[in-house]
């Protein structure tokens, strides 16, 4: 199978910031992303879990974005503008993708 070098960016961010994040990603030229639900976690701001929660305040989501390597920089810059004052983490991994024309 022919594969192509790409980056997998994973942004774990508060649910309330999801729409803002995906909007700046789209502006930064990201053509696709996938949002995974998150059920709990822990960090400097303590432990949390979605069990029984009604408010969107206490939850996070994981936004996964496969992207050509040369596009990572603008993506990170855009994401940083949103994430900066907020809790959450960003990681970038090397990966290979099929169907490179899609990224």
């Amino acid at each position: 199978m022919q594969t192509h070098k790409a980056k997998r960016v994973e942004i774990i961010i508060e649910a309330v910031m999801e729409r803002r994040l995906t909007e700046v990603l789209t502006e930064a030229g990201v053509t696709g992303f996938t949002v995974l639900p998150v059920s709990g976690g822990s960090g400097r701001s303590g432990r949390w879990s979605r069990d029984g929660q009604v408010s969107r305040a206490g939850g996070m989501v994981a936004v996964v974005c496969l992207i050509r390597p040369e596009r990572v920089e603008p993506l990170l810059q855009a994401a940083f503008g949103v994430v900066e004052r907020h809790i959450g983490v960003v990681s970038v991994t090397d990966c290979e993708v099929m169907r490179a024309e899609r990224f």
């Binding site: 910031m17 729409r19 069990d51 305040a57």
Partner: protein, 325 residues
């Protein structure tokens, strides 16, 4: 006095309050009992829809007068004013940062719809009537407090963020839309609409409320467990004092407006209650530096149980004493 105590006692052994206590106890004892997020959200949607619809039907039955408008305006003013009182009190009673104090203030200016619903229940079981449009007032009181709090922060040079997104999120948040929407539906369809769906929204209402309070107890208990040491004695005191101050402001407003005793109790209850759904979400966006553990624990772990158990009977007694019932 004896009456208050007996009412409070009676209130304390209602299934609703005991369900909250069960959840609280289970969470503190670290039981693995949890209610799925989707089920908790579904219950909250059910409760909002039912309470809004009932209010609308009641308005369609009893007609609407100027009271709706003046009370909504009074509610907006209360919601916008209370954060200033709360902020001042917090600065005196605690060492909270400006941002934390402002965030907490926003919660106390806004309202907790479940506390409102519990107030409804107590009135209904005591056979005390109230204005059907109070539920629209509830919706009106959700948002103004947030703006006051953000203004408080910006005045101190801190940067509360307010963008177009946030405006929409605050004004069109799920509970405002559901309350106002179902209120209008109830108003439009009236008793005929009520007849069609009352087996769903009236009869099982209290039972659903029990399970919802079980869930709130679980969430409050987990919150208390996770935030030991976050709240100073001063903050705890604030969590009990502030609702009483809020209720007093609500009482004055109710008397000025000439509301019925029941309506006054509901206005007091709302003024006394602290939001734990809409405002926390807005704070995460607008004041991310504020510590959620502080405002959630205060609103859900201290003030909510206080209102539920002692507050509401107290407000009822005060209103009955001053307005008659």
């Amino acid at each position: 006095m004896e009456n208050i105590l007996s009412l409070a006692g009676q209130n304390l052994i209602s299934p609703i309050i005991l369900s909250f206590a069960l959840g609280l106890g289970a969470a503190l004892a670290r039981s693995d009992l949890t209610i799925p997020e989707a089920a908790a959200k579904a219950m909250s949607i059910y409760l909002l829809f039912a309470i809004g619809f009932k209010g609308g039907v009641s308005v369609s039955e009893h007609g609407v007068d100027l009271g709706l408008v003046t009370t909504m305006i009074a509610g907006v003013i209360l919601s916008a004013a209370i954060p200033f009182a709360a902020f001042a009190l917090l600065r005196v009673m605690t060492r909270m940062s400006v941002v934390d104090a402002a965030a907490v203030s926003a919660h106390y200016g806004s309202i907790s719809i479940v506390t409102f619903v519990a107030g409804n229940s107590v009135l209904t079981s005591q056979g005390i009537g109230f204005e059907g449009y109070m539920v629209a007032v509830a919706a009106a009181m959700e948002a103004p407090a947030i703006l006051s709090a953000l203004w408080l922060v910006s005045r101190q040079g801190g940067g509360g963020r307010m963008d177009a997104h946030l405006w929409r999120e605050i004004l069109l948040n799920a509970s405002i839309v559901l309350l106002i929407g179902s209120f209008l539906i109830g108003w439009a369809t009236g008793p005929r609409g009520m007849a069609e769906i009352q087996a769903f929204i009236v009869a099982p209402f209290k039972g659903v409320l029990c399970l919802f309070l079980l869930d709130m107890g679980l969430v409050a208990g987990r919150g208390l467990r996770g935030s030991r040491g976050v709240l100073s004695a001063g903050a705890l005191g604030f969590g009990v004092l502030m609702p009483v101050i809020g209720a007093a402001l609500g009482l004055i407003a109710g008397m000025i407006l000439g509301l019925s005793p029941g309506g006054t109790v509901l206005l007091m209850t709302m003024a006394a209650s602290a939001s734990y759904i809409a405002v926390p979400a807005a704070m995460r966006v607008a004041l991310p530096e504020a510590n959620p553990a502080i405002y959630l624990t205060l609103a859900l772990g201290v003030t909510f149980p206080f209102n539920l158990t002692l507050g509401i009977p107290l407000y009822l007694a005060a209103a009955t004493y001053l307005i008659g019932g």
